[in-house]
Symmetry: C2
Subunit: 143 residues, 2 copies
Amino acid sequence: MKQNGSDNKLISGRLETAGVIPTAQRIAIYRYLLCEANHPTAEEIKTWADKNFPKLSLATVYNTLNVLIEANLLKEVKVPHEAKILYDSNISYHHHFLDEDSGELVDIPSELVEVTSTLAKEFQVHDIQVLMRGKRQKTRTQH
Amino acid sequence: MKQNGSDNKLISGRLETAGVIPTAQRIAIYRYLLCEANHPTAEEIKTWADKNFPKLSLATVYNTLNVLIEANLLKEVKVPHEAKILYDSNISYHHHFLDEDSGELVDIPSELVEVTSTLAKEFQVHDIQVLMRGKRQKTRTQH
DNA sequence: TTTTAATAATAGAATAATTCTAAAATTAGA
DNA sequence: TCTAATTTTAGAATTATTCTATTATTAAAA
Ligand SMILES: [Mn+2]
Ligand SMILES: [Mn+2]
Ligand SMILES: [Zn+2]
Ligand SMILES: [Zn+2]
Protein backbone atom coordinates (compact mmCIF):
# COMPACT_ATOMS: atom_id res chain seq x y z
CA MET A 1 0.00 0.00 0.00
CA LYS A 2 2.99 2.29 0.19
CA GLN A 3 4.18 1.92 -3.40
CA ASN A 4 3.99 5.10 -5.33
CA GLY A 5 4.50 4.05 -8.92
CA SER A 6 1.60 2.12 -10.35
CA ASP A 7 -1.19 3.90 -8.53
CA ASN A 8 -0.33 7.22 -10.03
CA LYS A 9 -1.87 6.85 -13.45
CA LEU A 10 -5.07 5.58 -11.90
CA ILE A 11 -5.20 8.47 -9.46
CA SER A 12 -4.29 10.95 -12.13
CA GLY A 13 -7.16 9.58 -14.20
CA ARG A 14 -9.60 9.94 -11.35
CA LEU A 15 -8.63 13.56 -10.91
CA GLU A 16 -9.05 14.29 -14.61
CA THR A 17 -12.43 12.56 -14.68
CA ALA A 18 -13.50 14.81 -11.85
CA GLY A 19 -12.32 17.87 -13.76
CA VAL A 20 -9.26 18.49 -11.64
CA ILE A 21 -5.90 19.11 -13.28
CA PRO A 22 -3.62 16.36 -11.96
CA THR A 23 -0.59 18.21 -10.73
CA ALA A 24 2.18 16.39 -8.91
CA GLN A 25 1.10 17.86 -5.58
CA ARG A 26 -2.53 16.88 -6.04
CA ILE A 27 -1.66 13.35 -7.08
CA ALA A 28 0.62 12.95 -4.08
CA ILE A 29 -1.92 14.27 -1.58
CA TYR A 30 -4.82 12.34 -3.06
CA ARG A 31 -2.80 9.13 -3.15
CA TYR A 32 -1.86 9.62 0.48
CA LEU A 33 -5.53 10.11 1.35
CA LEU A 34 -6.65 7.08 -0.63
CA CYS A 35 -3.90 4.58 0.11
CA GLU A 36 -2.13 5.48 3.32
CA ALA A 37 -4.12 7.71 5.61
CA ASN A 38 -7.29 7.22 7.59
CA HIS A 39 -9.32 10.40 8.09
CA PRO A 40 -6.21 12.57 8.42
CA THR A 41 -6.09 16.20 9.40
CA ALA A 42 -4.48 18.85 7.21
CA GLU A 43 -1.64 18.89 9.68
CA GLU A 44 -1.04 15.16 9.29
CA ILE A 45 -1.00 15.53 5.55
CA LYS A 46 1.55 18.31 5.85
CA THR A 47 3.71 16.21 8.16
CA TRP A 48 3.60 13.35 5.68
CA ALA A 49 4.39 15.72 2.82
CA ASP A 50 7.40 17.11 4.65
CA LYS A 51 8.88 13.63 4.56
CA ASN A 52 7.70 12.48 1.16
CA PHE A 53 7.19 15.54 -1.00
CA PRO A 54 9.64 18.25 -0.01
CA LYS A 55 8.68 21.85 -0.64
CA LEU A 56 4.95 21.19 -0.71
CA SER A 57 3.46 24.13 1.16
CA LEU A 58 0.71 24.17 3.76
CA ALA A 59 -1.30 26.46 1.52
CA THR A 60 -1.19 23.80 -1.16
CA VAL A 61 -2.39 21.20 1.31
CA TYR A 62 -5.45 23.29 2.07
CA ASN A 63 -5.95 24.36 -1.55
CA THR A 64 -5.80 20.77 -2.70
CA LEU A 65 -8.16 19.52 -0.01
CA ASN A 66 -10.68 22.17 -0.95
CA VAL A 67 -10.33 21.43 -4.64
CA LEU A 68 -10.93 17.74 -3.97
CA ILE A 69 -13.96 18.52 -1.84
CA GLU A 70 -15.34 20.80 -4.52
CA ALA A 71 -14.85 17.98 -7.03
CA ASN A 72 -16.68 15.54 -4.75
CA LEU A 73 -13.63 13.37 -4.31
CA LEU A 74 -13.37 14.09 -0.61
CA LYS A 75 -15.59 14.84 2.33
CA GLU A 76 -15.03 16.79 5.51
CA VAL A 77 -15.80 15.17 8.83
CA LYS A 78 -16.09 16.97 12.14
CA VAL A 79 -15.78 14.89 15.24
CA PRO A 80 -16.61 15.88 18.80
CA HIS A 81 -13.21 15.46 20.43
CA GLU A 82 -11.14 17.13 17.75
CA ALA A 83 -10.91 20.80 16.81
CA LYS A 84 -9.43 20.10 13.41
CA ILE A 85 -11.31 18.95 10.35
CA LEU A 86 -10.79 15.35 9.26
CA TYR A 87 -10.72 14.51 5.57
CA ASP A 88 -12.46 11.40 4.32
CA SER A 89 -11.48 9.86 0.99
CA ASN A 90 -14.32 7.37 1.25
CA ILE A 91 -17.08 9.22 -0.58
CA SER A 92 -19.54 6.34 -0.64
CA TYR A 93 -22.39 6.49 1.83
CA HIS A 94 -21.10 5.16 5.12
CA HIS A 95 -21.07 5.77 8.85
CA HIS A 96 -18.38 6.07 11.51
CA PHE A 97 -17.23 4.54 14.73
CA LEU A 98 -15.07 6.70 16.97
CA ASP A 99 -12.75 4.76 19.23
CA GLU A 100 -12.71 6.68 22.50
CA ASP A 101 -9.36 5.18 23.51
CA SER A 102 -7.31 5.83 20.42
CA GLY A 103 -9.30 8.64 18.83
CA GLU A 104 -9.34 6.61 15.64
CA LEU A 105 -12.29 7.06 13.31
CA VAL A 106 -13.35 3.82 11.62
CA ASP A 107 -15.54 3.54 8.54
CA ILE A 108 -18.72 1.54 9.01
CA PRO A 109 -20.41 0.34 5.81
CA SER A 110 -23.95 1.62 5.60
CA GLU A 111 -25.21 -1.95 5.19
CA LEU A 112 -24.28 -2.66 8.80
CA VAL A 113 -26.44 0.11 10.19
CA GLU A 114 -30.15 0.45 9.77
CA VAL A 115 -31.83 3.70 10.70
CA THR A 116 -35.59 3.90 10.92
CA SER A 117 -37.18 7.20 11.75
CA THR A 118 -40.75 8.30 12.24
CA LEU A 119 -40.45 12.04 11.92
CA ALA A 120 -43.34 14.30 11.07
CA LYS A 121 -43.72 14.37 7.30
CA GLU A 122 -42.62 17.98 7.15
CA PHE A 123 -39.06 16.70 7.60
CA GLN A 124 -37.63 15.60 4.28
CA VAL A 125 -34.45 13.74 5.07
CA HIS A 126 -31.82 13.64 2.33
CA ASP A 127 -28.90 12.29 4.27
CA ILE A 128 -28.25 10.49 7.52
CA GLN A 129 -24.94 10.44 9.34
CA VAL A 130 -24.45 8.03 12.21
CA LEU A 131 -21.55 8.43 14.57
CA MET A 132 -21.06 5.61 17.04
CA ARG A 133 -18.73 6.14 19.92
CA GLY A 134 -17.23 3.51 22.12
CA LYS A 135 -14.27 1.28 22.75
CA ARG A 136 -12.74 -1.43 20.72
CA GLN A 137 -12.38 -4.69 22.59
CA LYS A 138 -8.85 -6.00 22.46
CA THR A 139 -9.27 -9.17 20.46
CA ARG A 140 -8.42 -12.12 22.68
CA THR A 141 -5.88 -14.32 20.96
CA GLN A 142 -7.24 -17.76 20.07
CA HIS A 143 -4.95 -20.64 21.09
CA MET B 1 -40.69 31.98 27.84
CA LYS B 2 -38.94 35.33 28.02
CA GLN B 3 -39.72 36.17 31.63
CA ASN B 4 -36.66 36.35 33.77
CA GLY B 5 -38.01 36.37 37.28
CA SER B 6 -39.49 33.07 38.32
CA ASP B 7 -37.14 30.79 36.43
CA ASN B 8 -34.13 32.04 38.24
CA LYS B 9 -34.45 30.17 41.53
CA LEU B 10 -35.03 26.97 39.62
CA ILE B 11 -32.02 27.56 37.41
CA SER B 12 -29.89 28.63 40.33
CA GLY B 13 -30.89 25.40 42.03
CA ARG B 14 -29.92 23.31 39.05
CA LEU B 15 -26.50 24.93 38.97
CA GLU B 16 -25.95 24.30 42.66
CA THR B 17 -27.06 20.68 42.34
CA ALA B 18 -24.47 20.28 39.62
CA GLY B 19 -21.81 21.79 41.86
CA VAL B 20 -21.60 25.10 40.02
CA ILE B 21 -21.68 28.36 41.96
CA PRO B 22 -24.70 30.23 40.62
CA THR B 23 -23.33 33.64 39.78
CA ALA B 24 -25.51 36.21 38.05
CA GLN B 25 -23.65 35.71 34.77
CA ARG B 26 -24.00 31.94 34.87
CA ILE B 27 -27.69 32.09 35.70
CA ALA B 28 -28.31 34.53 32.86
CA ILE B 29 -26.42 32.48 30.28
CA TYR B 30 -27.88 29.18 31.39
CA ARG B 31 -31.41 30.60 31.37
CA TYR B 32 -30.87 31.93 27.88
CA LEU B 33 -29.68 28.51 26.76
CA LEU B 34 -32.59 26.71 28.41
CA CYS B 35 -35.45 29.05 27.68
CA GLU B 36 -34.68 31.23 24.70
CA ALA B 37 -32.00 29.87 22.44
CA ASN B 38 -31.81 26.85 20.19
CA HIS B 39 -28.30 25.47 19.81
CA PRO B 40 -26.70 28.90 19.88
CA THR B 41 -23.08 29.72 19.19
CA ALA B 42 -20.90 31.56 21.71
CA GLU B 43 -21.22 34.59 19.48
CA GLU B 44 -25.02 34.49 19.62
CA ILE B 45 -24.88 34.26 23.38
CA LYS B 46 -22.58 37.26 23.50
CA THR B 47 -24.88 39.23 21.20
CA TRP B 48 -27.82 38.41 23.44
CA ALA B 49 -25.82 39.33 26.53
CA ASP B 50 -24.86 42.68 25.06
CA LYS B 51 -28.56 43.55 24.99
CA ASN B 52 -29.70 41.87 28.18
CA PHE B 53 -26.74 41.69 30.51
CA PRO B 54 -24.45 44.66 29.94
CA LYS B 55 -20.78 44.26 30.77
CA LEU B 56 -20.78 40.48 30.49
CA SER B 57 -17.50 39.69 28.76
CA LEU B 58 -16.79 37.24 25.97
CA ALA B 59 -14.33 35.46 28.22
CA THR B 60 -17.16 34.86 30.68
CA VAL B 61 -19.34 33.46 27.92
CA TYR B 62 -16.68 30.89 27.10
CA ASN B 63 -15.78 30.26 30.73
CA THR B 64 -19.41 29.68 31.61
CA LEU B 65 -20.04 27.40 28.65
CA ASN B 66 -17.06 25.30 29.60
CA VAL B 67 -18.09 25.17 33.24
CA LEU B 68 -21.57 24.01 32.22
CA ILE B 69 -20.13 21.37 29.93
CA GLU B 70 -17.81 20.18 32.67
CA ALA B 71 -20.83 19.93 34.98
CA ASN B 72 -22.77 17.94 32.38
CA LEU B 73 -25.41 20.60 32.01
CA LEU B 74 -24.53 21.30 28.42
CA LYS B 75 -23.20 19.51 25.38
CA GLU B 76 -21.17 20.69 22.44
CA VAL B 77 -22.42 19.96 18.95
CA LYS B 78 -20.34 20.26 15.79
CA VAL B 79 -22.24 20.49 12.55
CA PRO B 80 -20.87 20.14 9.04
CA HIS B 81 -21.73 23.56 7.63
CA GLU B 82 -20.66 25.65 10.60
CA ALA B 83 -17.18 26.43 11.88
CA LYS B 84 -18.40 27.49 15.29
CA ILE B 85 -19.39 25.17 18.08
CA LEU B 86 -23.09 24.96 18.91
CA TYR B 87 -24.16 24.56 22.52
CA ASP B 88 -27.00 22.21 23.37
CA SER B 89 -28.90 22.60 26.64
CA ASN B 90 -30.83 19.41 25.96
CA ILE B 91 -28.66 16.87 27.72
CA SER B 92 -31.06 13.98 27.37
CA TYR B 93 -30.26 11.41 24.71
CA HIS B 94 -31.57 12.74 21.43
CA HIS B 95 -30.71 13.21 17.78
CA HIS B 96 -30.71 16.14 15.36
CA PHE B 97 -32.18 17.29 12.10
CA LEU B 98 -30.27 19.97 10.22
CA ASP B 99 -32.43 22.12 7.98
CA GLU B 100 -30.31 22.78 4.91
CA ASP B 101 -32.29 25.89 4.03
CA SER B 102 -32.24 27.75 7.33
CA GLY B 103 -29.25 26.13 8.99
CA GLU B 104 -31.48 25.47 11.98
CA LEU B 105 -30.67 22.44 14.10
CA VAL B 106 -33.80 20.70 15.42
CA ASP B 107 -33.89 18.24 18.29
CA ILE B 108 -35.27 14.82 17.44
CA PRO B 109 -36.38 12.68 20.39
CA SER B 110 -34.51 9.39 20.44
CA GLU B 111 -37.84 7.53 20.45
CA LEU B 112 -38.44 8.64 16.86
CA VAL B 113 -35.23 7.11 15.57
CA GLU B 114 -34.30 3.47 15.73
CA VAL B 115 -30.74 2.46 14.97
CA THR B 116 -29.87 -1.18 14.50
CA SER B 117 -26.29 -2.12 13.85
CA THR B 118 -24.56 -5.39 13.20
CA LEU B 119 -20.95 -4.49 13.87
CA ALA B 120 -18.29 -7.02 14.70
CA LYS B 121 -18.43 -7.71 18.44
CA GLU B 122 -15.10 -6.03 19.00
CA PHE B 123 -16.92 -2.70 18.66
CA GLN B 124 -18.52 -1.77 21.96
CA VAL B 125 -20.84 1.11 21.25
CA HIS B 126 -21.59 3.43 24.16
CA ASP B 127 -23.30 6.24 22.32
CA ILE B 128 -24.93 6.86 18.97
CA GLN B 129 -25.41 10.25 17.39
CA VAL B 130 -27.66 10.57 14.38
CA LEU B 131 -27.62 13.69 12.27
CA MET B 132 -30.29 13.90 9.63
CA ARG B 133 -29.97 16.54 6.98
CA GLY B 134 -32.66 17.78 4.68
CA LYS B 135 -35.31 20.34 4.08
CA ARG B 136 -38.37 21.22 6.01
CA GLN B 137 -41.51 21.22 3.90
CA LYS B 138 -43.39 24.48 4.25
CA THR B 139 -46.58 23.36 5.93
CA ARG B 140 -49.48 24.01 3.56
CA THR B 141 -52.12 26.05 5.36
CA GLN B 142 -55.33 24.16 5.93
CA HIS B 143 -58.48 26.09 4.91
C1' DT C 1 9.23 25.47 -31.11
C1' DT C 2 8.14 30.24 -29.07
C1' DT C 3 4.38 33.07 -27.12
C1' DT C 4 0.51 33.68 -24.45
C1' DA C 5 -3.04 32.94 -21.28
C1' DA C 6 -4.82 30.29 -17.72
C1' DT C 7 -4.10 27.82 -13.71
C1' DA C 8 -1.56 26.27 -9.66
C1' DA C 9 1.91 26.63 -5.98
C1' DT C 10 4.00 29.23 -2.62
C1' DA C 11 5.32 32.24 1.59
C1' DG C 12 3.63 34.83 4.58
C1' DA C 13 -0.08 37.91 6.23
C1' DA C 14 -4.78 37.96 7.73
C1' DT C 15 -8.83 36.18 9.89
C1' DA C 16 -11.80 33.88 13.10
C1' DA C 17 -12.86 30.98 17.00
C1' DT C 18 -11.35 29.85 21.23
C1' DT C 19 -8.17 29.79 25.14
C1' DC C 20 -4.93 31.89 28.19
C1' DT C 21 -3.04 35.45 31.43
C1' DA C 22 -2.91 38.43 35.01
C1' DA C 23 -5.35 41.70 37.54
C1' DA C 24 -9.63 43.31 39.76
C1' DA C 25 -14.12 42.03 41.67
C1' DT C 26 -17.07 39.08 44.05
C1' DT C 27 -18.33 35.50 47.04
C1' DA C 28 -18.47 32.41 51.13
C1' DG C 29 -16.67 31.00 55.27
C1' DA C 30 -14.01 31.84 59.49
C1' DT D 1 -14.98 42.19 59.16
C1' DC D 2 -11.08 39.41 57.41
C1' DT D 3 -9.44 36.07 54.55
C1' DA D 4 -9.08 32.78 51.08
C1' DA D 5 -11.08 30.94 47.21
C1' DT D 6 -13.49 31.69 43.14
C1' DT D 7 -15.09 34.35 39.32
C1' DT D 8 -15.04 38.02 35.99
C1' DT D 9 -12.77 40.79 32.92
C1' DA D 10 -9.87 43.00 29.05
C1' DG D 11 -6.81 42.05 26.18
C1' DA D 12 -3.06 39.10 24.50
C1' DA D 13 -2.02 34.59 22.69
C1' DT D 14 -2.95 30.50 20.19
C1' DT D 15 -4.70 27.57 16.57
C1' DA D 16 -6.84 26.24 12.37
C1' DT D 17 -7.87 27.88 8.16
C1' DT D 18 -8.21 31.31 4.45
C1' DC D 19 -6.54 35.10 1.78
C1' DT D 20 -3.16 37.87 -0.94
C1' DA D 21 0.18 38.78 -4.05
C1' DT D 22 3.93 36.82 -6.47
C1' DT D 23 6.20 33.22 -8.92
C1' DA D 24 6.06 28.86 -11.30
C1' DT D 25 3.89 25.60 -14.14
C1' DT D 26 0.92 24.03 -17.51
C1' DA D 27 -1.69 23.98 -21.90
C1' DA D 28 -3.08 26.15 -25.96
C1' DA D 29 -2.18 29.26 -29.79
C1' DA D 30 0.64 31.07 -33.16
MN1 LIG E 1 -6.24 12.00 12.09
MN1 LIG F 1 -27.02 29.12 16.13
ZN1 LIG G 1 -15.16 7.71 6.62
ZN1 LIG H 1 -30.01 19.15 20.58
